[in-house]
């Protein structure tokens, strides 16, 4: 347990150390992005030391999070995991049969290529509650970010969703798709301790990254309420994962009332 907490506290850039670049923490969680939470959960599951770092700079593929490892930048959470599995000789899926690995991949696709968009829609396009998650130094900064959200972030998301296809649906249909996907996750999970059985595997990082982030930092969303009312096994699962791999979750959140920019930067390491 203690090695997982140490990974967070290192403040020096050490040879071989991994820096995870992301959009930083919120009042309710250690990451704002589900892909970032997926990646950090994987690192904790494999006991790989890392340091999170706040950034607004996008790398070449325009994907966040990305890592820096021994001077090399690696992007895309799935490629990062593949890279680190190879570098550190890790394999959380070693105990799975080929058919089970296939099932795990199919659920990863369900979450990252489908459910993700319905959750992003709820988080960014249904209301302004996302602004309550992020600390701002003053009211002007809040206003500035709100403008940025309206003028750039939301139109970009809508454009991406239209390209992907899901953006052409009505709100009711998008929420229906989310319900179907979460139902499939809960139905397959059943009463198992981890997603694929009694041992953790890579897909647990994916499920926790997305469903966990929604549960703990987006509890007012339609989907979070749906999970709470209809899938108690899924609620219990994310609680278990949080206790096991993120016992320091509450300590990592930005304290309520933080407004200073410097303080927030420091919080992000």
């Amino acid at each position: 347990m203690s090695s997982k907490m140490e990974a967070q506290s290192s403040g020096n850039v050490v040879q071989g150390e991994i820096t995870v670049f992301g959009f930083g923490k919120s009042f309710l969680g250690p990451c704002l992005s589900p892909f970032n939470l997926k990646l950090q959960t994987y690192l904790r599951m494999t006991d790989i030391k890392y340091k999170p770092w706040f950034t607004t700079k996008m790398p070449s593929k325009g994907k966040i999070p990305y890592i820096e490892h021994n001077g090399k930048i690696v992007e895309d959470s799935s490629f990062i995991i593949q890279h680190l599995n190879s570098e550190y000789k890790k394999d959380l899926n070693a105990h799975l049969t080929p058919a089970e690995k296939a099932i795990a991949l199919s659920f990863q696709r369900l979450v990252e290529d489908n459910l993700y968009w319905t959750l992003a829609y709820q988080r960014w396009l249904m209301d302004d509650s996302i602004l309550d998650l992020i600390p701002f130094p003053n009211r002007f900064a809040t206003k500035l970010f709100s403008w940025y959200t309206s003028l750039k972030l939301r139109p970009d998301l809508r454009k991406n969703m239209r390209g992907q296809g899901i953006g052409r649906h009505s709100e009711e249909e998008i929420l229906k798709i989310a319900k179907l996907d979460l139902g499939a996750i809960a139905d397959f999970l059943g009463e198992k301790e981890f997603f694929m059985g009694s041992q953790p595997s890579e897909v647990d990082a994916v499920i926790f990254g997305f469903v966990g982030l929604m549960t703990f930092t987006g509890s007012n969303s339609v989907s979070a309420k749906d999970v709470k009312e209809n899938h108690p096994n899924l609620v219990a699962y994310v609680e278990r994962m949080k206790q096991l791999y993120w016992p320091d979750w509450d300590k990592l959140c930005i304290p309520e009332g933080t407004t200073s920019w410097d303080e927030m930067q420091q919080q992000c390491g």
Binding site: A102, L110, D113, N114, G163, Q164, L180, D187, F188
Partner: protein, 265 residues
Amino acid sequence: MSNETAVSEQTSPSSCQTDGAADVTVYGLGRSLVAPCFSPFTLKLQTYLRMAGIKYKFEGSLKMSSKGKIPYIIHKGKQVEDTSFIVEYLNKEYSVDLNAHLSLSEKGISVAFQRLIEENLNWPLTYERWILKYNNLVDILPFTSFKKKMFKLATSSPFGMKSKVQANMHGHGIGRHSKEDIFKIAEKDLTSISNFLGDKPFLMGSKPSQVDASIFGHIGILMFAATDFRTHRFVKDNLPNLVTYCERVRERFWPDWNDRVAENI
């Protein structure tokens, strides 16, 4: 909830498709020289209709639905779009449940594989069709050489299909990867489907279920209508169970496949 059934249970899959009047009309991109329809989603939809024993008519059309999607159906005057919503709608209208024999866990798995095919694998295959093998596209269309020239002009213009595909891929995220990485993603997905399928006759077991329509829609087109694709060769060389699966599904639900393709002009 309507308990109407379109046909008796004795109806063979091939007689579901009629050239005469039917309650359900499917509008989709038309037939090609090598397949009863050009688009994987249209093949998925028609395969579902045949599995469910629902009579339908297929109209090749370039006209999109109000959401800008194709295929769509008209059922008793009502337009329904998006193949997943169409299937849900028709399941209700005709009291069909192709998944009745599956456990809850199996139903979850079948949704996941549907997403893998339709929300991920679909993109590398679309990329190969519309970007890499774009110049060969017209070879499988039943057009006169003049129409082929017009088709190429229209689809490669700045507002044409080709640039739309590129924009959509970028929106999805896969468009930011290199060509080699896109192929790696496709191969991983195809290998996973093959590994899960194993020796089973259908994806979920000994009986066909709803997800087989999705799998066949995409991989059927790949195996029968895209023989020059790198992904086709990958399946042929490495995943023999997927090859026999496609042949099995075609034999069972599309015995009239060759009668349904377009004639060369």
